[in-house]
Subunit: 268 residues, 3 copies
């Protein structure tokens, strides 16, 4: 059992004891599914996007997720306000730059949010993370065209340049602050046949950040936990509709001991 795996189980216990409130400004596609992910694992979701209530929501939240999967002008405004408010309040803040690189609007929005408030963690697939690096990149829709290996270097570079933590998820996940890098293995290919599983990983990260200040360790623990839920679900079914239901079931059922025993987190 690695040191980081043991930390993961402790963090999960803290989430279930404190039921942190995770505020999401997220895309329409995954609002229901990510709310269910948070509830199943023992956290408490709140979805709100009206600029007028961003401060009130921040006051009762323990973490923020900004997900740019479906955009419009007023939502971008709310994302900026919420990000700044979270930073000022010292609340952890995850950016999920869905489709960054695929359209100028998305790339510009992701960069704009980063410029106004540096996220605690940026989580994306290889193409999305590459699009945010100085070198740039291109994304095919919301799927990734780049390999994990290509993106790992860009993740380190982006983490160092912003002084933050960057996570690239894919066949294996890398979590890096530049100086410290963890690699998480797990998950299952069926996650690619269900919408919003990347978005789900981001809200799980936010819940872990709400109870743990070491952002690299918290992010790796979150990804190990979510990956384990995918593995457990895939052990029971091989078809995607049933699979997602069983992922939710597993997020509820996996104990801290299970996570300690199964998390595969190594130093990269």
């Amino acid at each position: 059992m690695s040191q980081y795996a043991r930390f993961a189980g402790e963090m999960l216990a803290r989430i279930r004891a404190s039921r942190p409130v995770v505020h999401s400004i997220t895309n329409y596609v995954v609002m229901n599914s990510t709310a269910n992910v948070l509830l199943a694992m023992g956290a408490s979701p709140i979805m709100a996007h009206a600029p007028e209530e961003m401060k009130d929501i921040a006051a009762i939240s323990n973490a923020l997720v900004v997900n740019i999967g479906t955009l419009s002008k007023t939502w971008i405004e709310a994302m900026h306000i919420a990000s700044r408010v979270a930073k000022i309040a010292g609340k952890p803040f995850v950016l999920d730059p869905v489709g960054s690189g695929a359209t100028s609007l998305r790339t510009d929005t992701a960069r704009g949010i980063i410029n106004s408030a540096i996220p605690t963690v940026i989580r994306g697939n290889a193409s999305e993370i590459l699009s945010l690096s100085p070198a740039g990149g291109a994304t095919r829709g919301v799927d990734s065209m780049h390999t994990w290996d290509q993106a790992a270097g860009a993740a380190r570079e982006l983490a160092v340049s912003l002084g933050t933590v960057v996570a690239v998820t894919g066949e294996k996940d890398v979590v890096t602050s530049g100086s410290k890098t963890l690699v998480v293995t797990g998950g299952h290919p069926l996650l690619g046949y269900v919408t919003g599983t990347g978005c789900a990983a981001s809200v799980v990260i936010a819940a872990f950040l709400a109870v743990e200040q070491d952002a690299v360790a918290a992010t790796a623990a979150a990804l190990a936990f979510f990956g384990l839920a995918g593995e457990r679900a895939a052990a029971e079914t091989s078809v995607p509709g049933t699979f997602w239901i069983k992922v939710l079931d597993a997020l509820y059922s996996i104990t801290s001991g299970d996570l300690d025993a199964s998390a595969r987190i190594t130093e990269g």
Copy 2:
């Protein structure tokens, strides 16, 4: 079998015979799940929020639900128009003040809707109902911090002051017009691990109001029906993903006779 339980079965039969159209202006998180709740139980959902079509929608609807779970300016405008149109047309109208008390925007919006058109039924958790009473209150996110007992008094007070029916749902549910109070027991703790179960209860209430003018009896019957669906689902599984699917299954499968036999509605 209580008198009210027998009424419940009759109402359910009327819903399935007439398939009432329930118009929802609701939050993004639960649009899919509450539409599925209405279809599974035998009603017909319609979701629409454009101010331009509120009158046309009202003309083909049998009941309205306004749920303030995710807000923006144009949606608040549509909620006001739809509420007034429903009142003028004599259609029953349920207000679900999600998160009222948690942010000024939500409390003000709930109060504003009530001021422009008094709902047939207001359904919320303890904190939400307390936030609408003259005494006020505070809400932690969209979850309730107040006990049912604290809220029952506030519900009666609010019902009397507005001349309407107020329902507080929680471990047990109270439905009151001030002069008449019914208590409904049932449901299951797993409902707390799935998003939008309170919102689902609200649309079920609207479907019952579409076929029954006694709003206290209709609301109690609806809550007994929804609670029974939760109990049936929980008898088959102990994990939340599968549980919700089985709630939908139960809403379809429960017969009028089942509801008569199992509804636990008492005078409070």
Copy 3:
């Protein structure tokens, strides 16, 4: 085995080989479920509605679906832009006129989109298609009040007048260009107890259009495929929550050979 049924299996194989990107501007209710439909069957969904990114999205998409189930002014603007861009780029484009006939806003919006860019395929229920014909019609909510037989003539008329393909779905489906008509049988009544199954049929059509230029054949194949998924699901369960999960499972599991063997497509 009919000639068209064999084509259906070939098309499904092409979808799974090329994973076409289907851009949807669709209603909030079905965003999650239709994205899951596309992923389960082997296509790749992208949801986007910001007018600013319509051109960028079109450049990476292989087909477009415009679904008017929930409307607001800025969304209608995006629908117009996306439709025109798709036409100019030569990408197939499906219009799903949800609730056309039920409100002036919806009927006007559907007609407006058709006027600015003629869809490759228009798919609706009987009432919706009738509302778009010169004779007009009336819709009860989003459900259909007209029989398939009444609508088949209107579909042919509309197809000829626009020079496009029109599909009316119901107990049996008709797909017509005016000169060529195919009838598809299949599906299951439980599809009526789940929200967004018509919308799901429309995204499946778009995925088939992305790999096949014969729009009548592609649409019939898509409807046969979706209907078969409903039949397979209904063979395993008789309740709607579980049913929908099994529809997703079937969309993933059905092979080209299965579709060849089971598709019931006849010339009408």
